[in-house]
């Protein structure tokens, strides 16, 4: 067994167990941390496949920025405890079974596709920053520009949504509703 094979299995095991940790851990913060760990292991996979740039980006953007945002929000809401009363075990089992069944279906289908060329050979150039830059700014200039539109709309949207408006309250005021919900809980 080659070294990279050992690394692959190791990383795969880590990925899967961390992913399971995300969905199974009771504390939301733990979930976030597990997710970050997943991202790290995925970055390891990227490195294995000579996608060094993506590996870095994944860590910086995902693990660094996005997940921190998640964590931040969680902290903000003070949700660092189990907020989900585990009442519906059946439903959860059903969820897991559905996920598993879907996985099995997909595996069964894609098993038949014969694609056995090796993808970890340590020789490819495509993952280098230079190549990617060339592609991104020549062929993919349109999507690149469009992503700015996407970000703009996300920005505007986040502002519209998150900003506290100073408006006269309508009849079904927020306060009443939150009170109602408090009562429900």
């Amino acid at each position: 067994m080659e070294l990279y094979e050992i690394v692959f299995w190791l990383l795969s095991f880590m990925t899967v167990s961390c992913a399971l940790g995300v969905i199974l851990s009771k504390s939301p913060v733990n979930s976030v941390l597990f997710l970050i760990a997943t991202f790290f292991s995925l970055s390891g996979h990227y490195v294995l496949m000579n996608a060094q740039f993506l590996a870095i980006v994944n860590i910086i953007v995902y693990a660094g920025a996005i997940m921190v945002l998640f964590l931040f929000v969680l902290m903000l809401m003070n949700l660092n405890k189990d907020t989900e009363p585990q009442k519906r075990r059946l439903l959860q089992a059903a969820g897991l079974i559905s996920g598993g069944a879907l996985f099995l279906v997909l595996i069964a289908a894609l098993r038949t596709v014969s694609m056995d060329a090796a993808v970890i050979d340590g020789s490819s150039e495509i993952g280098l920053l230079e190549n990617l830059g060339m592609v991104l700014f020549s062929d993919f200039v349109l999507p690149f520009e469009l992503s700015s539109v996407l970000f703009l709309s996300a920005m505007v949207g986040a502002m519209v949504i998150a900003k506290k408006d100073k408006l006269p309250q309508k009849e079904n005021s927020t306060e009443n509703i939150s009170n109602n919900f408090k009562n429900i809980r």
Partner: protein, 99 residues
């Protein structure tokens, strides 16, 4: 490593993400599971990129991350807005709209 391994791994991640969406009730965690699904796709895409020797696929992954980031911005702000109103992020608590 044949690409099949990566396909399976990616699908497993995808399925785990999907199962997470079904199992969890905290909106933030659900959203995180969706991120997990996206990452599964990313992994698969990188594997295909390697398989076909096409750097475009990696650029595609880059864009997926961009979109994910944008969604996170919007999504978290929506969750925050809802949280402000009902002081919870439990998705099943919100069921005024039905039938």
């Amino acid at each position: 490593m044949p690409i099949n391994y990566y396909v399976f791994l990616s699908l497993l991640l995808f399925a785990i993400g999907m199962a997470g969406v079904l199992v969890r009730r905290n909106a933030i965690i659900v959203f995180m599971c969706v991120e997990l699904m996206l990452n599964a796709v990313n992994l698969l895409m990188v594997a295909f990129s390697k398989y076909y020797g096409m750097s475009e696929a990696q650029v595609f992954v880059f864009f997926i991350m961009v979109v994910a980031a944008a969604e996170v911005a919007v999504g978290l702000s929506i969750i925050v807005m809802v949280y402000r109103k009902i002081h919870s992020t439990d998705i099943n608590l919100l069921n005024r709209l039905k039938h």
